[in-house]
C-alpha cells in the first residue's frame, strides 16, 4: 500500500505518510471499536487488546492523535449506519439487506465527452493508480456526521487517464440497477438509477476521491462496494455508491435528490451552516457517537480553505 500526500492538502486533513499500518492491527482496532469503544485517540491508552503482543498503540492511531484532532468513528458505526436506499430506507437496512449483492467482477462504463470511452474492468481501471488512505469528515444532510478513514484514489487520476474533451463540463455518475440483489430498488422510492454529478473542477479537486475501501479493507456492500464517490465538503448524498457508469457531459446533470425534491436539494449540496434545509437547521450536527446535536457545522465541512475558491462569486443560497 502506497500512501502519498497530495501537495495542496494540509496534513490535518489526511492521514500522514508515516502511519503505514499492518492490517491485523488495523482490524484489531476496528474490532475494539466494534466492541462499543469508540476509537477515540485520547482514549486509546486504555484500549489495549488483552494480548501480550499488542503492547503498543497501533501507530496509525497514535499519529492521528497529533495530526487530526477528531476521533474516528468505529468500523461498526461506519458500516452499520448509513443511507443507501437501494437496500432500504432505514439506516440499518444497507448492512442488513446487502448480503446478496455481488461487487465482483465489476465493470465501469466511461462515456460521453472523452477520448477513451469504453467499458473498463475495475481492476484494469485501477492498475497503476496510487491508492491511499484519506481520513475525512462525512456530514449527512440529515445533520449527523462521522469521521471516516476511506481508502481509494483521486478521481482526477482516472479523469486524466480517459482524456476528457473540451466539452466536458460535468461528470455524471450512476449507481448500478440490480433489483434482484438490491431489494430497495424493487420499490420506486427514488427514481433508479441513483444519479449524481460534479462540476469538472470539483471532480478534479485533489480532495475528491473514488473510494474502494474503508478502514484499510475493501468496502463492504452496504457502503457502496466496489467503488463509490467521496467528496468531503459536500453532503453525504453526493457520494454515489456502487458506481457503474461515469459520463462526461456538457450540461449539469439532474441528480437524484434534486429530481426528487428540488426545493430541498440542489446540485452542489455544499455543506453550509448558513443555508438551512427547509425542514431543519444545518448550523449544528450530531457528531456520532455523541448523543447531542451540538457540534457546530463548519463552512464546506471544514474544507473551506481548500475549496472555497471553486465557488467564488457564487450565490450559495441559490446554488444550494
Amino acid at each position: 500500500m502506497i500512501i502519498r500526500r497530495p501537495p495542496d492538502i494540509p496534513s490535518s486533513e489526511i492521514t500522514p505518510e508515516s502511519v503505514y499500518v499492518d492490517r491485523r492491527k488495523f482490524i484489531q482496532a476496528a474490532a475494539a471499536g466494534a466492541a462499543g469503544l469508540a476509537v477515540n485517540p485520547s482514549a486509546l491508552a486504555g484500549l489495549q487488546a488483552p494480548t501480550a503482543q499488542s503492547q503498543e498503540i497501533p501507530p496509525r492511531f497514535a499519529n492521528m492523535r497529533s495530526e487530526i484532532d477528531e476521533a474516528l468513528n468505529s468500523y461498526e458505526a461506519v458500516t452499520t449506519y448509513n443511507n443507501f436506499y437501494e437496500f432500504g430506507t432505514a439506516k440499518e437496512d444497507p448492512a442488513r439487506n446487502s448480503g446478496d449483492f455481488n461487487p465482483r467482477p465489476w465493470k465501469v462504463t466511461i462515456g460521453g465527452e472523452c477520448n477513451k470511452p469504453g467499458e473498463y474492468d475495475l481492476d484494469d481501471l485501477m492498475s497503476g493508480i496510487t491508492m491511499e488512505d484519506r481520513v475525512y469528515r462525512l456530514r449527512c444532510v440529515e445533520a449527523w456526521s462521522m469521521v471516516i478513514p476511506w481508502y481509494g484514489f483521486q478521481l482526477s487520476s482516472l479523469i486524466n487517464r480517459v482524456e476528457p474533451t473540451g466539452n466536458a463540463n460535468f461528470l455524471m455518475f450512476k449507481t448500478i440497477v440490480r433489483p434482484e440483489e438490491m431489494p430497495g430498488q424493487r420499490q420506486a422510492i427514488l427514481n433508479w438509477p441513483y444519479v449524481e454529478g460534479l462540476r469538472m473542477d470539483e471532480a478534479m479537486h485533489p480532495l475528491t476521491i473514488l473510494a474502494t475501501g474503508v478502514y484499510g479493507m475493501d468496502l463492504p456492500n452496504q457502503n457502496g462496494a466496489p467503488l463509490r464517490l467521496v467528496v468531503p465538503w459536500k453532503y453525504g448524498f453526493k457520494g454515489v455508491k456502487s458506481i457503474v457508469s461515469i459520463d462526461f457531459v456538457e450540461r449539469m446533470p439532474l441528480n437524484t435528490w434534486q429530481r426528487q425534491n428540488s426545493v430541498e436539494y440542489g446540485f452542489y449540496a455544499n455543506v453550509n451552516p448558513n443555508v438551512s434545509h427547509p425542514r431543519w437547521s444545518q448550523a449544528r450536527e450530531r457528531r456520532l457517537p455523541s448523543l447531542f446535536k451540538n457540534h457546530p457545522t463548519t463552512m464546506f465541512n471544514g474544507y473551506a480553505e481548500q475549496v472555497q475558491h471553486l465557488y467564488a462569486g457564487m450565490d450559495l443560497e441559490r446554488w444550494k
Binding site: S74, T89, K91, R279, R286, L288, F292, K293
Partner: protein, 218 residues
C-alpha cells in the same frame, strides 16, 4: 368468561402492549443495542408509538359501536394517557439532545420548521386532554369535556402531518397512518356513527343514550 374477567384481560393486554415499546427501548439503551445513533432511534420509536397509540385510542369508540361491546370504553383513557406519555418522552428527548436544553434554539425551530411547528401543536393540543382526563375534571366540565376531547382527532391529524413532513422520500408509513386516521374520521360521520338520520325524530332521551363519546369515569 364474564364481563369483569374479560375487561381485566383486556386491560392486562393493554398495559403489556403499551409498555412493550418502552421496555424494548430501555433494553436497547441498557445493552447499547440501539445502533450508532441511539437518539434517532429513541426519537423515532417514541414518536411512532405515541401516534399509533393515539390512533388506537380513537378507534375505541368506533369499535364499541361496531361490536356493541360497551366495556371496551374502559381502556380508552389509559390508552390515551399512554399515547401522551410517549409524546412527553418524545418531546423531552428532542429538547434534551437535539435542542441541548436551549430554549432559544427550540423556539427558533418551532417557528421556522413547519414539521416541528405541527408536532409541537399536536403536543400542546394533547396536554389539556391528558390533564382533564381525571374523574374530577370530567365532572367539572360536563358536556364541554366531550367537545374538548374531540381535540384528540386534531392532535392525531397534526401528528400524521408531522411524520409525513419529516420523512425524506419514503412516505409509505406516514400515508398508511393518514389512511387509518381517515377511516376513523369517516367512522365519525353521523350517518355511520349511528347518530345521524334518525336524530330528527328520535326522542331526546334516546339521543342522549346513544352519545357514545360520553366521558367514562370507570
Amino acid at each position: 368468561m364474564n364481563t369483569k374477567a374479560t375487561v381485566l384481560l383486556v386491560k392486562v393486554v393493554l398495559w403489556v402492549s403499551a409498555l412493550a415499546p418502552g421496555a424494548w427501548l430501555v433494553r436497547g439503551l441498557v445493552l447499547s443495542d440501539l445502533g450508532p445513533n441511539p437518539i434517532e432511534e429513541l426519537t423515532h420509536w417514541t414518536g411512532m408509538t405515541a401516534l399509533v397509540l393515539l390512533l388506537v385510542t380513537l378507534s375505541v369508540s368506533p369499535f364499541r359501536r361496531l361490536t356493541g361491546w360497551n366495556p371496551v370504553i374502559k381502556i380508552r383513557r389509559p390508552l390515551g394517557l399512554f399515547a401522551y406519555f410517549y409524546a412527553v418522552v418524545h418531546f423531552s428527548i428532542w429538547f434534551a439532545f437535539d435542542m441541548v436544553f436551549n430554549l432559544t434554539w427550540m423556539l427558533e425551530d418551532i417557528a421556522e420548521r413547519k414539521y416541528i411547528t405541527v408536532g409541537m401543536a399536536a403536543f400542546l393540543v394533547l396536554t389539556p386532554l391528558a390533564v382533564t382526563s381525571t374523574r374530577g375534571w370530567i365532572r367539572r366540565l360536563g358536556r364541554r369535556w366531550t367537545s374538548l376531547h374531540k381535540g384528540a382527532y386534531l392532535a392525531a391529524g397534526l401528528g400524521v402531518v408531522h411524520y409525513y413532513w419529516l420523512v425524506k422520500a419514503d412516505t409509505r408509513l406516514p400515508l398508511l397512518l393518514a389512511f387509518c386516521l381517515l377511516v376513523l374520521l369517516i367512522a365519525r360521520l353521523p350517518a355511520l356513527s349511528g347518530r345521524g338520520g334518525r336524530s330528527k325524530n328520535a326522542p331526546k332521551a334516546e339521543r342522549k343514550s346513544s352519545e357514545t363519546d360520553a366521558p367514562v369515569t370507570a
